[in-house]
Symmetry: C2
Subunit: 518 residues, 2 copies
């Protein structure tokens, strides 16, 4: 008996030693990756234009070091030892770190170096080719890049997940554990509900008045308003900042250093305001991630792109596009822009920012038409990987689907198949996350209303702290302890359910467009 205990103690001691070793390696990777994020932010926000070449070399040097650390055979051995030993004496945090690190190590090491390099090279070159093709409305110029990417991404999928369908392996990179088997029925249901709903809205003779949203809106006032609202809903300026960049994003190097950006147009204050709210949603997730006692380790990372998007859409759509939020802030909006908003009311403002109108460009789409932009891309990506769609037919396929889903046909490929940057950088399987995020957001919001029935009164009174706390506790602080599937089950008591999303849209837009009265 004593001998057994000694053996057990010895094993535990070894285990702790290996785990300690793992933590040390993983934290170094986290720190170096944090530096990379700061460089990325600096490049978009601060870097002088002439510094591009020097910066590229700096980034390449650091990326090389991070890659070497990630594929370090000593890391692999450490992970194997920890995985092969009994893990019963480890907590869920430790097991999560081992599991996540192993997944990352496999992703990095299962792909031959030549393929990694060719993908990196094509991403870099593809971006420039896409920019030109889009400028010149010439899909044929971009088609070879797309074809090569499909080959390389198929090879890549064979290396990392030989047992999965190729498209699933690509999706898995962004939306862990979510497959076509789960997505397709959800998207079919959305199509079935949304296409007739959008059609009914288009058929309404009277559309909301949006004239008071046009005009000139002083940039300094827009900025002050956006910063105030971001602060109100919980952005911590002691652990983050807001700046200006060409494309809005949420970056930063650590939960204590979260940096969001936006751009201000003087012809439109809604776009930048809601963009700041959207990015603040991402930022609250980042600022709310565990750190400190849990260490800067994989368990503390954000979960998936879809869960991240659920947080930005939660604040942008579920909160800020809702009536209570408009009721609370309308007087501030009107006192900021008295000339433009003098004839508007809370109700007319709410209707104006919630109009539905099919258009060609995804990033400008409203919440009703947005899912159809995504579904179109999903079906195209699936078809491309399964061989049912050919690259050369894409412009026609794209336009046919646009007509089928939204009743409009892009006049050019620039406004059609060439509009997004994702494919030129090799991000296939990313698009579904946007709409999965919207569905998650709706389901989370519904649970919040159930658990905190006073929520809409709190919003109308400008009290956002209980909402942020709820998200902190239920989602942000969970890090990567659970899969998205487990998380939504734990938080909402059931699996991802698109019915809530459709109900929400039908109620909201039915009311705005008077469809229910028909």
């Amino acid at each position: 008996m004593q001998l057994f205990e000694m053996k057990f103690d010895k094993e535990m001691e070894n285990m702790n030693l290996h785990y300690h070793n793992l933590v040390h390696k993983l934290e170094e990777i986290t720190h170096l990756s944090g530096i990379m994020s700061t460089l990325g932010w600096d490049q978009e926000v601060m870097m002088p234009v002439g510094a591009g070449e020097a910066r590229a070399k700096q980034i390449a040097a650091l990326a090389g070091i991070i890659h070497d650390r990630m594929i370090d055979p000593a890391l692999g051995e450490c992970l194997d030892t920890l995985q092969n030993q009994t893990q019963s004496n480890l907590g869920e945090v430790e097991r999560c770190n081992i599991r996540e690190a192993k997944r990352q190590y496999d992703l990095e090491t299962k792909v031959p170096k030549q393929l990694v390099q060719e993908l990196a090279e094509l991403s870099s070159r593809g971006q420039g080719i896409w920019v030109n093709a889009r400028q010149e409305n010439c899909f044929a110029g971009f088609a070879p890049v797309l074809k090569r990417f499909l080959q390389l991404k198929s090879e890549w999928a064979q290396c990392v997940s030989p047992d999965m369908p190729i498209y699933d392996a690509n999706i898995d990179l962004f939306e862990r554990g979510t497959t076509m088997n789960e997505i397709t029925p959800i998207f079919e249901y959305l199509k079935q509900e949304l296409i007739p709903l959008i059609q009914a809205i288009q058929d309404r003779a009277s559309q909301p008045d949006t004239s008071f949203l046009r005009g000139r809106f002083a940039l300094d006032r827009q900025e002050a308003l956006a910063r105030q609202i971001s602060r109100d809903i919980g952005f911590d300026f002691e652990q983050g900042r807001i700046d200006v960049s060409v494309h809005p994003f949420c970056g930063g190097s650590h939960p204590t250093d979260v940096r969001i950006t936006t751009r201000y147009k003087d012809s439109d204050f809604i776009e930048s305001l809601y963009s700041v709210i959207h990015e603040t949603g991402h930022a609250l997730y980042e600022q709310g991630r565990p750190h400190g006692e849990m260490g800067d380790l994989p368990v503390a990372e954000s979960l998936t792109m879809g869960i991240h998007e659920s947080q930005s859409l939660f604040w942008e759509r579920m909160i800020a596009q809702g009536k209570p939020f408009c009721a609370h802030y309308f007087s501030a909006f009107r006192s900021t822009f008295p000339e433009q908003l003098q004839t508007a009311t809370v109700d007319s403002f709410y209707r104006a920012i919630n109009t539905c109108k099919p258009d060609f460009i995804r990033v400008e789409a409203d919440e009703l038409t947005y899912p159809l932009h995504i579904i179109l891309r999903y079906e195209i990506e699936r078809g491309l990987f399964e061989g049912a769609i050919l690259v050369d037919d894409l412009p026609q396929t794209w336009n046919d689907l646009m007509h089928k889903y939204l009743g409009i046909t892009p006049p050019t490929d620039t406004l059609g198949v060439l509009q997004d940057s994702h494919w030129s950088g090799g991000a296939f399987g990313y698009f579904p996350s946007y709409t999965l995020g919207a569905i998650y957001a709706c389901q989370f919001y519904r649970t919040l209303l159930r658990e905190q029935p006073d929520t809409e009164n709190a919003i109308a009174a400008g009290r956002f702290a209980p909402i942020k706390s709820w998200l902190n506790e239920n989602i942000h602080r969970q890090g990567r302890l659970h899969t998205p599937q487990e998380l939504v089950q734990r938080v909402t008591g059931e699996a991802l359910n698109p019915v809530y999303f459709i109900d929400y849209l039908k109620n909201k837009y039915g009311e705005i467009y008077g469809l229910n009265a028909n």
Copy 2:
């Protein structure tokens, strides 16, 4: 004969291979050090206050990697091979890179790890102790740090330069190749000339009117003015930026990414304006360093602290505090601040910004009294390392010397021996560079006037490009090809000569204070 050539070719080929290998290693170090500089800038200018701890870990991770690269035995072997082989087939650039890399490698590897760590730990801890001691006017609190530093810095000097006097080894870190043997006679000459000159100025009954420099100066106007003048004298905003930080500095990661900072006080526009001009002088050196074809290698680095300071003081003092500069910009100053400057003239402005008044604080000193602040520190450091001065006697020694050189006695140690941060961070031997820089600047300016006799007319007309070009060609683009001693000889035709500096000061202040008419 043929056999000899084959051997020679073979040797050359090996040489090229080794050199290529060296370049690869050195460029990686340069790139990573550039990242470190960007992080340093970000920390002072952009980083949210709450991110300090995470940033410290990130910097430690990167510093560890850079250190590992610097002491990599493979780098040492590569350098030894290159140094032992015949270098006749290498150009001066290549020989410079080998020489500089070897020097750096020796500096990094000759010191035992334990000593490196103890110095780093003491620097970090010493800073906090000094801040407290200064706040509480308690030298005794700081004395133990100073004593330990003197021990460690002596040990360090024994390791890196066992053949040099200890203080010379410390100076050498900042001001390569310059020793007490060179500095002491220069400083003795300065004392001999400056002490009576300053005394004569103090004895004058009438002092310049500076009342119009007091008032309220709107910060946005100060900033616009500073940016305009920085641009006028040659700062390239496509390869740099100007921001605000607590202490002004010149940072950045590369000649194409040079970042200067300043701070604006609404009670004083001269301080921040001349601080921007000073930092622009540093920045022009950085932007003018060789890169591109020469690679990001040691040969392209700036030379010494003294030469760097010569560039900032060149623009701040020789140009911007001169009459032609005041003549050119005075109307812009007056139209920017019409209320305050309405009674001023070019001449009264010139006199007001060139007053001489002994005071306790070095960083606020004018160009006449500044050298005596430096000489005092130089003599104290020398005495400490040579054992002629004891740490415990420092407050008294400091005050005695202040009285002897400037005729004033600091009422507290906070305004005396505790005022500078250098010693708390372990930077002994740094101070002389400030005044060497001033002497270099004056000698360079004299040569410029000889070679381009139209210079002062050009300044008065706002044409600064010929000056910048002259500095670019003669100093900035030389990188580290020559020692400071060689450089000043090449540029001015003689060794560093403080007579020009003294002549300049005597003429200038003699005229301003009417001493020559006595």
